[in-house]
Amino acid sequence: MADRLQKKVGIVTCSGEELAEGTVSRLAALKVLEKLRPDDTVTICLPLFLAGGEGDRAFAKFYPTITIDGCDKRCAYRGTQKYSNTPAASIVITDLAAEQALGEIEGKSDLNAAGLTAVDLAAEQAAGQVDELLGKHWSRREGAFTQTNPKDEDSHEVTATCSCGSGIPVQLFEIDGRKFEIVALPLLFKTFSGQRKAPSDDTLKEIIAEVRIYNVIEPENETALIDKIDQAYQDYWKDNESKHEQN
């Protein structure tokens, strides 16, 4: 079921503004996002796990995630693990530099040769991890791999965008004055509609099964929330049908 949504890998990078290795981690992440695997990767700023909303905190539950950290404090890894989900893979620039005997990395705003080499090596390593992760089946329900499924796609250069302000799309409902955020519902509606699944009891059951992968629905709100989701999908379907007719 979860496979219906497009699979991508999330890249979360160290924000280490005080270290040159932090710059390496950000530039390596950007190289993966923009040049090496633009179709397969997305990113989010680490502080959004706290400063953002539920959709942002759901990031690593929704995407298998690679963290790129500048130093052994491993802020990106620990932050992602603490606020979202355990990363699927990680890279630490200081470890990489030591393993490869790159020498001292210097220059926060203008990296030296060792820093630039570290960017290339870290980006290549992360790209390999992306391939590995997408070659396996990532279960969003379990937050872990379940089976292998090799993947082979060409990449092209694009501009990376972060998830600022959006994270995973959410839909808001209000029940008895209380607000509820349903993570990933807009994506699910798009997917079900794209598969031409018209609103029905069966479709609703499938949608709710998917909704439960990303959201906890409290028993006391279950009936009201399912009614809201049912109505929302009917409205979404009608809007889409109208757009199709106009085109």
Binding site: T13, C14, S15, G16, E17, E18, L19, G22, R26, L27, A29, L30, K31, L33, T43, C45, L46, P47, L48, F49, L50, A51, G52, K73, C75, A76, R78, G79, K82, Y83, K108, S109, A160, T161, C162, S163, C164, G165
Partner: protein, 139 residues
């Protein structure tokens, strides 16, 4: 991190937008070139993780935040960490006042972005001077 009183500069850690890079470049200019003796950069990630030393630093020193977008992560994290924001700067506000300096590029800022970072850094320098002067008078 130094225990000595300094003005703490916290830029946005935005990875995917030019405005994030501008905020970092401005912070580097202030802390490394313009006011290295009176300022200190604290990375946002340490505040996200609740690092004790970083929290203590923002609690006990004046803080200037330079946020890259309206989500204002830097400001929110300082407040969340028990600190007080002495001055809040937003890259977007400076861009609105300097439309000719449109930042482009993330890993390599264009000239407009670099100039915008310098404009912001100059404004931060003034705030740092005010804060350190006040600190001197009070202290």
């Amino acid at each position: 991190m130094s225990k000595e009183k300094k003005v703490i500069i916290i830029p946005c850690s935005g990875v995917g937008k030019s405005f994030g890079t501008v905020s970092r470049m401005a912070a580097y200019q202030v802390t490394e070139d313009d006011r290295p003796a009176t300022t200190q950069l604290v990375p946002l990630a340490l505040l996200v993780l609740g690092d004790e030393e970083a929290r203590e630093t923002v609690e006990n020193n004046p803080v200037v935040v330079i946020d890259g977008c309206q989500l204002a992560c830097a400001k929110k994290m300082v407040l969340e960490s028990g600190g007080t924001v002495s001055k809040e700067m937003a890259v977007l506000d400076f861009y609105r006042q300097n439309r000719e300096l449109k930042p482009q590029g993330i890993s390599q800022l264009n000239e407009g972005g670099k100039k915008l970072a310098s404009v912001i850094a100059a404004a931060v320098d003034l705030v740092v001077d005010e804060l350190t002067e006040e600190g001197g008078k009070n202290g």
